[in-house]
């Protein structure tokens, strides 16, 4: 049973209906207004990409769009910050393997 790190009301927001998007080949749950990074974290996924020299995993770090560690490819557009990009139903999100030449 995967963890769900979402806060429920009243502590957390009253979320709308759930939808899913794909991260690699995994279905991830999300609600309107959630960012891709937050939805992945809520479903327990923390590694979003691997670095280009050492191939080490990276995920959310600063959470506010300053560090550029949380880069993912969304619907073919690469290097988007997962912490700032809203999730939409049917999104195809790809982790970025830094060592592979595009």
């Amino acid at each position: 049973m995967p963890p769900d790190q979402r806060l429920s009301p009243p502590a957390g927001p009253e979320r709308g209906p759930v939808f899913t998007f794909l991260f690699a080949d995994v279905q991830v749950h999300a609600h309107a207004g959630e960012t891709i990074g937050a939805a992945l974290l809520a479903d327990g996924i923390t590694a979003l990409r691997s670095t280009r020299f050492a191939g080490r995993p990276r995920g959310l770090f600063c959470g506010i769009g300053s560090c550029f560690d949380c880069l993912v490819t969304v619907n073919g557009v690469p290097n988007l910050r997962a912490c700032l990009t809203p999730a939409a139903p049917g999104d195809r999100v790809q982790p970025q393997d830094g060592r592979r030449v595009a």
Binding site: Q5, G12, R15, A47, L48, G59, G63, F68, C83, L84
Partner: protein
């Protein structure tokens, strides 16, 4: 106005009320900044009330007095003094695609771009699950997401307390809070005066919330390593000496799935520098901050600044500074006269003084010696973006004599990556200082860049192809 945090919102409200045509540009999807981090638009279906300054700004927007461009970032800017609206701001949507591009011109600019968490490296800090304290709170408040089930909150600074308290209240098992500063030092400098009683009361409330949930608070301690397979699974906590060096034999490990680490805040000066504003190390932390006078005017005529950008003062001080900056901009645009300015800023100037005094007193509690360099191993990554190790930076100084930040950048690639030195500047400066025996002379260097956020080449081409743009601008962009 650039930034819709406490300072930006206050500036916008004052300038709009004074009759200026106001546009607010903000990176995030909803106003509030880091302090009033509001739930992302569309996420909360209940009729939640936003904090008062956010509600006030929304009302001005609804009334057509303020134009709000959320989800928008300025990727470069310039000043053309020969035209009436000299400030040229190039905007892009935050999504990284080609949406949201625009160029706007302004006769006056109020900068309220705030600050980001200061981060310092330690072995394993690049593992998923290790986040900044600010990031943990942004996720909690903006998205209603806990960063993990079992967390340690650490680093240094008063900010750790509200983050730990909020995480604990959200159901996260906060295993402990570690503060690098010693308790005696904290207590000795506690701004315990009647004047600051409200803030002291807040601090006491936070301490009580943590104590009630039995969250241990350990001073003179730090997370000196993180480890795990693919994500953080445990942290090493060490006791520190007065210089923040690890005390041998005091290591212990704590099982966690998140570590939230922050060492205070660093002003975001990139845009200010592009608009010609002078910066200098501010007296509390040595961070480059924008120089302002008593009217919140920068050294670049027509550009004003307020909030954490001019030196960290907290949200109330930021709001007072922003308000003064907005009114000063209104005077510069001829909307109100000096008498009105003096009258409207009288109370604000007193507030500003009180909050600056508190921030100064608070900062005296927290110092930042460089013993944390002893937490590092040779292969600890210092520049996260370019994966540059501690050993590489150190050798650039000792073997290649790169004793200023610019040469370190050119020889090691520190600061050349996406974040343009925002994450590694402090660490690199400290490594250089210790290895070279003196501080680098160009401390703002890793913070200054003509392109503030990555944009596709097509965006630069748009500017270059625009027949109305001065040639020297497009030439400079093309050369970069």
């Amino acid at each position: 106005m650039v930034g819709a945090g406490p300072a930006g919102m206050a500036a916008a409200a004052q300038a709009a009320t004074a009759g200026c045509e106001v546009t607010v540009i903000d990176t995030y999807p909803a106003p509030g900044g880091q302090y009033h981090r509001t739930v992302a638009p569309g996420l909360d279906r209940s009729a939640a009330h936003p904090p008062e300054p956010v509600a006030a700004l929304n009302a001005l927007v609804a009334a057509g007095r303020v134009t709000l461009r959320s989800g928008t970032t300025i990727w470069t800017a310039g000043v053309d003094r020969e035209v009436a609206a000299p400030f040229r701001l190039h905007l892009t949507g935050v999504g990284g695609s080609l949406t949201g591009s625009a160029t706007i011109r302004a006769r006056a600019v109020v900068l309220a771009t705030g600050a980001t968490d200061r981060v310092l490296p330690f072995p394993g800090w690049d593992l998923p699950g290790v986040v900044t304290a600010g990031g943990a709170q942004a996720l909690l408040k903006g998205q209603g997401i806990r960063v993990g089930d079992r967390a340690v909150v650490g680093g240094s600074g008063a900010f750790l307390l509200p983050v730990a308290a909020d995480l604990a209240a959200a159901g996260c098992d906060v295993r402990e809070v570690v503060e690098a500063q010693g308790l005696r030092c904290l207590m000795r400098h506690l701004p315990a005066s009647w004047r600051h009683r409200a803030r002291l009361f807040e601090g006491g409330q936070l301490a009580w919330r943590l104590a009630r949930r039995r969250v241990p608070f350990h001073a003179r301690s730090a997370v000196t390593a993180a480890a795990g397979d693919g994500r953080v699974e445990q942290v090493t906590i060490s006791r520190l000496d007065r210089s923040w060096g690890p005390l041998p034999g005091t290591d212990r490990t704590v099982a966690v799935d998140a570590a939230c680490i922050s060492f205070g805040f660093v002003p975001q000066i990139g845009l200010a520098a592009l608009l010609g504003c002078g910066v200098e190390p501010e007296p509390l932390w040595d961070d480059p901050a924008v120089i302002v006078d008593h009217r919140q005017a920068t050294t670049s005529p027509g550009v004003f600044a307020g909030g954490e950008l001019t030196g960290v003062t907290g949200s109330d001080g930021a709001a007072a500074e922003g308000a003064i900056a907005g009114l000063a901009a209104a005077v510069a645009l001829g909307r109100i006269d000096e008498a009105a300015f003096a009258a409207r800023t009288r109370a604000l100037r007193k507030l500003r003084a009180v909050h600056r005094a508190f921030a100064t007193a608070l900062a005296a509690m927290y110092r930042r010696p460089d013993g944390w360099l002893d937490w590092l191993t040779d292969d600890t990554v210092v520049c996260r973006c370019e994966e540059v190790s501690f050993a590489t930076v150190r050798e650039a100084v000792t073997a290649l004599e790169a004793t200023d930040l610019r040469s370190v950048k050119l020889t090691t690639r520190c600061g050349m990556g996406y974040c343009q030195g925002r994450m590694c500047r402090d660490a690199v400066a400290a490594i250089v200082t210790r290895a070279a025996g003196r501080a680098p002379r160009d401390t703002p260097a890793l913070s200054l860049t003509p392109v503030l956020t990555p944009v596709p080449l097509a965006r630069i081409a748009e500017v270059a192809d625009d027949p109305d743009e001065p040639r020297h601008v497009s030439g400079r962009c093309a050369r970069r």
